[in-house]
């Protein structure tokens, strides 16, 4: 994995004379684009503390004028936190189990494909990788019918299993790229010591694959956490609703008041932003690993 972290090595290459004007221009472009990305967030947080009159007033954009002149904390106080907490909990359970299932399945499959020699292994691998291209919409109708037939609708499993399946292709891809880095001599040594295939998998491959766990988990996380289509169709009771659907239906109840909408979406965003601030390097590396190895 030396290559992966190479992107963060200090830069030996710096802007030379002649490139200076362009360099300044580039920095300006970057600053502008960063503002375009950050400003909506700033605006979201400030308007969550305002009433409509303040939000809609022109000429109040940047600090300090953009800050609320009266702080409407009641936007936050009035929220139904027990529902939001339920949605959050459901999202955590669904996402965690989906990631766990797809990760275990991916590691096992990756071991069978990359470490045991058999004729069709490449073909099977290619078949799994097709999964990256298959749109989730493809299984919406049939999986809905299957779930309805077995009475699985409106349960967490009706989301967990499809999410696990959709995360699988990418997880196998990432697992493959990690398993290649584990020397085959280790397997052979273990076989000589009398280990079975299963013994090698659990005692050698799994422990050495642990660094890939976070990469696979982070890559699958975003997909599962923000999924809206299956979540809005398969689960109808608020008891099992996940965060995106919960936020959508909850904000739908305040059509006129913007402040509380801002408060809901701010609260829904904060855990993600905090996690990102803490783990930004790891998160970025995971996305790079996932895409580049493909």
């Amino acid at each position: 994995m030396a290559k992966k972290s190479a992107i963060y090595q200090p830069n030996e290459y710096t802007i030379r004379k002649g490139g200076k004007a362009f360099g300044i221009f580039g920095v300006i472009m970057l600053i502008i684009w960063s503002l375009i990305n950050l400003y909506p967030l700033f605006w979201m947080i400030t308007f969550s503390l305002k009433d409509n009159q303040q939000i809609q007033k022109t000429h109040r954009f940047l600090l300090p004028k953009g800050l609320p002149n009266e702080w409407h904390w009641e936007n936050y106080k009035a929220l139904d936190y027990s529902s939001l907490l339920t949605y959050f909990k459901n999202s955590v359970i669904v996402t965690a189990l989906a990631i766990l299932i797809s990760m275990v399945a991916a590691m096992m499959a990756s071991y069978a494909i990359m470490r045991i020699q058999w004729k069709a292994s490449k073909a099977v691998n290619r078949m799994f990788l097709l999964g990256i291209t298959i749109p989730v919409q493809a299984s919406l109708v049939p999986v809905y019918m299957i779930c309805r037939y077995f009475d699985w609708l409106d349960t967490r499993w009706s989301l967990i299993i499809p999410y696990a399946a959709f995360a699988l292709a990418m997880s196998i891809l990432i697992a493959n790229s990690f398993i290649v880095g584990i020397p085959k001599d280790l397997d052979e040594a273990a076989y000589i010591d009398g280990c079975s295939r299963y013994g090698v998998f659990f005692r050698i491959i799994v422990p050495l694959m642990l660094p890939s766990v976070s990469t696979i988990a982070i890559y699958s996380f975003l997909q599962c956490w923000n999924e809206l289509m299956f979540a809005s169709v398969f689960v109808s009771s608020s008891e099992y609703r996940t965060l995106p659907v919960g936020v959508q239906s909850y904000t739908g109840t305040f059509t006129v008041k913007w402040g509380p909408i801002g408060a809901v979406i701010t609260i829904a965003t904060i855990p993600m932003v905090i996690t990102y601030v803490l783990l930004s390097r790891k998160i970025q590396e995971s996305f790079i690993a996932g895409a580049i190895k493909g």
């Binding site: 802007i15 299932i101 096992m108 499959a109 299984s139 049939p142 990102y276």
Partner: protein
Amino acid sequence: MRKVGNMKHRSASDTISIIVFLIPAVLLFCVILIAPMVMSAYYSFFDWKGLGEAKFIGLSNYKELFTSELTPFPSALKNVFILAGLSVFLQLPISLGLALILGRGIKGERFFLSVNFIPVLISTVVIAMLWKIMYQPKGLFNNLLRITGILKEGDSNILFLADGPKGHLLGSVIAPMLWQYVGYHMLLMYAGVKNVSPELREAAMIDGATPWQVDRYIVIPSMKPVIKVCVIFSVTGSLKSYDLPALLAGMRSVTAAFPSTMLMNQMFKANRYGMGSAIAVLLILMCFAFALLINYIFREKDE
């Protein structure tokens, strides 16, 4: 017992372990992805309400998709191609430009990289609500247009979310989708830029190449694999897009229809499972076709 160094030897126990290790993945894959694709293809030839008897109607669902006024599929196709086109020819060049600037090594590299990746992580529901409010007649965009003087005293506010031929709905749905993923592609391309060895750049600079020439003739050509991944992601991502169209335009809009919103509309509003399946089949075919096409285009240039 296994013999030393005889890894290629296949025994019965190996066959069993291959099966055991593959079972979870194959089950998930077949039940949730492969079987449903086959089922979708099958039901797309039927007129079926989901319950009761299904009536075989051949290709009528497909024919209706392209000819009937009731199902705005041509409009959905047009919209999705506009999105894919803008994504490849507007969003990716912006990402590439930013990645190249970042890759030249400037102060605050990490900061810019991190900040520009934030929209990727924010839930599409949150983005949709946020943009919905920004689009309001008295929201952020109209206020900005007033301050900059683009909207004059007497002008009325722009109704960004107004549907209909004179509305801006389609553009308003596409804009946040393009905005959200610039940072994602920028991150991937930045990794590609960083993969170019500094020595190569140095050598070109000593030979008198300007930074622009270095980017043009050394960095960009070596980034082809990354650019290919980005193009595939952005095209198939466009084809699959559902969240923002559904949240900003709703399921019934004709001018801002997308294949996925149409699919949901046919399935759960009109209860037409056969029609929904036909749309799903077309989506699958388009995703595969474009993935193959993009692979082909890039392969040719490699050689």
